[in-house]
Symmetry: C2
Subunit: 564 residues, 2 copies
Amino acid sequence: MGTRKLTLGLDYGTNSVRTVLVDVANGEELATSIHEFETGEAGIILDPADHNLARQKPSDYLKGVQVTVKEVVAEAKNADKDFDTSQIIGIGIDTTGSTPLPVDKNGTPLSMLGEFKDNPNAQAWLWKDHTGHAEAAEITELAKKEHPEYLAKCGGTYSSEWFFSKILHCLRVDPKVFDAAYTWIEHADYMPAVLTGTTKPQTIKRCRCAAGHKAMFNNDWGGYPAKDFLAKLDPKLGQLRDTLSDNTYAIDQRAGDLTKDWAAKLGLKAGIPVAMGAFDAHLGGVGSGISTGKLVKIIGTSTCDMAVWPADKELADIPGICGIVDGSILPGFWGLEAGQSAVGDIFNWFVNYIQPGGSANGSHEALTEKAARLKPGQSGLLALDWNNGNRTILVDQRLTGLLLGQTLHTTPEEIYHALIEATAFGALTIINRFEEYGVKISEVINCGGITEKNPLLMQIYADVLGREMKIARSPQSCAVGSAIAGAVVAGKKAGGYDNFADAQAAMCGVKERTYKPNPESNKVYQQLYSLYKQLHDAFGLESFSGKMANVMKQLLDVKDKANR
Amino acid sequence: MGTRKLTLGLDYGTNSVRTVLVDVANGEELATSIHEFETGEAGIILDPADHNLARQKPSDYLKGVQVTVKEVVAEAKNADKDFDTSQIIGIGIDTTGSTPLPVDKNGTPLSMLGEFKDNPNAQAWLWKDHTGHAEAAEITELAKKEHPEYLAKCGGTYSSEWFFSKILHCLRVDPKVFDAAYTWIEHADYMPAVLTGTTKPQTIKRCRCAAGHKAMFNNDWGGYPAKDFLAKLDPKLGQLRDTLSDNTYAIDQRAGDLTKDWAAKLGLKAGIPVAMGAFDAHLGGVGSGISTGKLVKIIGTSTCDMAVWPADKELADIPGICGIVDGSILPGFWGLEAGQSAVGDIFNWFVNYIQPGGSANGSHEALTEKAARLKPGQSGLLALDWNNGNRTILVDQRLTGLLLGQTLHTTPEEIYHALIEATAFGALTIINRFEEYGVKISEVINCGGITEKNPLLMQIYADVLGREMKIARSPQSCAVGSAIAGAVVAGKKAGGYDNFADAQAAMCGVKERTYKPNPESNKVYQQLYSLYKQLHDAFGLESFSGKMANVMKQLLDVKDKANR
């Protein structure tokens, strides 16, 4: 046991941080600790007057790493008397994103300075903050006109959730905060920088993942967007461009080594290499064993669907795929990110808002049990999975749900079944889009709570996709992915690995139970999918000859007006 | 009080018969009696093995008239010592239809003969019996080929609910019954014939209403369909044609006078004139005050929408209007019948099948109360009212419901509101179709329980239709319509009326409370209606360029196959 080598994986989610201690030899998880963020509601600072606002306190992030690392170390010591912190050879970190925060010349978050302590604009702007929606539209419009290439890699529309929308919005609504900030950094960059003492804006390394997917970074045009482009949005945004380095780094690069100071705070040895950060979903892909041909689906309230493709092979721009970034998931590969805006959220809506079936029969469990008795096609129902818009492949938030085929005898479980099918059809549409552009998907690995809890959903997915559904071995695959990054930056010499392929081969796996497609069900679903696709194109594509695309938009216009 | 003149209105519904005693001077209802039919389930003989089957025992009809007439006479005597049966100057009768029954040479229903007593095929085939669906398709196909004019007046499709579909089906499945029948007569013809002793097939008068709407009767082609046409369906059906007279009669004609025998059974004076029968909805139109320009809507689980048009004025075939028959509602007028296949049934489906809102919030009352707080357009939802197919104007049972615009926050009351709106849009589509073909609708009179119980629905209808919604004064307007027919066949000399205009002016009315359209709501609904119409045409019309018409049909094909 003296030769055992371990790494720490830190996974910053929306409401909490999770830290796992992993054996690099086999991926075994020795200890886990979770810490809920303390500020605001479930760790999020909200504004009752503006439901678009969602911020977090950077100090919560620092407390989280201290609490959880100390806990896993204590747990490991308790469980195994041979454990020693010198066995920990690397640290990896993932966070949500785009979650940028303003920092001063020393790299100190403005929120840690007295003046701005309680100013929400000086905190971290959480990924789901949508206050910058007007600025997002402005950026999209200008890019369409002047630099369409900027948008080609991010699905054609710049989102309100992303880096520059948030910064530009801050500039507009709180210039004092903007002026006090030397620059803005992503949460994913901040954490490794803190642990390695490299927060100074002049020395900080920014990760490829956040820059490429959320800030239009691409080596083809020299990194971040051109200064004059940003200056047209606002001269001060142009000046900010000077603080953004032309280099970004993938997760095989080390951010630095654990400082003495932080080693003491965490109860670890100083000098442990810390990997560059990345987004949670992407390291979830790594932790689930992503590689060429293997699609990883993280299924929760929404989904993130990830694929990689060798960087030295040709790859077209794939319309509607939100992000295609060199090295964003794995170094040496294009990282492709797609997703569905709502999956579990649609089932939750039906159960929590519609509350069907009287009092006793409307739970997920009761509906699933009854729905499981239905054969494909038996209900005569067909739904579109757009209750929260469509991220991939239509990239359109102003789309809404549709349910069709109701009779006077349609039951709640039939609707529940149809909603699951709709999300499966949405999933197939993403895979088909990948394959149409040459990214062949030969294997699908799923992770997320719903994949372990709902066999009916997994079987419907297998039947609709016509593919075996596998489930990642670890339910905390994001944290495992971070631990893998820690093992790679440690390197083989130190007992880790020199590349991700080797690390994943040793540290990842899938569960024994998989879901195989039933050929007969698949045949029925092929028919239903062609009808789904017809509705999808009719209501989703402006170019569709049937011209139904106006219906949902005009309804939303009427709704907006009525609610004014 | 000695000069008071009264008439009896008999209203045979699906489960019971209702008799009212009405003052011809002002339409006041002096007494009412209801008798539930005794055979089968709620008066209907069902077959657990064939949900299409629905029959009734003719003897139940005879018991019903005896019980109810005696009861209203007793009630009137109790309430008013001056009442005398000699004040009753006429009788009118309405029934469901098409509800044909086989009779022998003497006009005796086969079911009253020992041999066939318990044979369901020898009973009255209730309007909602669908056992003849294959025969209906056969008749439609042959008529399309050889006599398209037969279908032009009945919406383009011959229904399984109608006269010849039922008779031909009996011929196919139970030739013994068919062979034993001399002819088949409608319930609406049978009742007046019984009371006036004219049941013999050689003497019986058949009503224009049933013949024209359900048996392709039209003077343009010499009455009922040609013998050779029927013979092509089956030679025996051709022979039956010889038993169908070339004359039919409107409700201003008397079937005959009450026989001594039946007068004794009912406790009435012999010799009272009895009007020709007609269908319940049509006499409901009469009882609600129908006349040129006045649309009468009977709103229940489904609707019947009726209009009349002077028979001497030109009137085109109106596509999708199920029946256009000279004299079927009022003598001297074209009777136009349209309808929605489900209205109240859609709300019942949502409440009883979906059971939304947990245990306490899913009743009609609770949903209505919350829905009443919503502004038009506020929910962003739009629905099609096709859960039970579409009768007018698409004449297509193989259409299904659609709900569009759901988000992750859509509530049950929003859906309930959208379902009411959808039925209002369906109602507007019918009115628009009438008007497109020159039948101007200047007034809308509603009747049916829902019109008195649900002010929200009535206001939405006013706002969507952009017209004042009036409600017929009497909730039993079918029976009142029959009483009006009784007053007209009595004639002015006897204290009644010589025409329907005079009788309706005296005996009909509307309630004081009406619903006026809110101009702002109407403006929003005009926008929503244009979207409804877009969905309606896209999914309902084969000719629509967007070609969505296949979606619901193919889904039903898949469903049928899955359920096999």
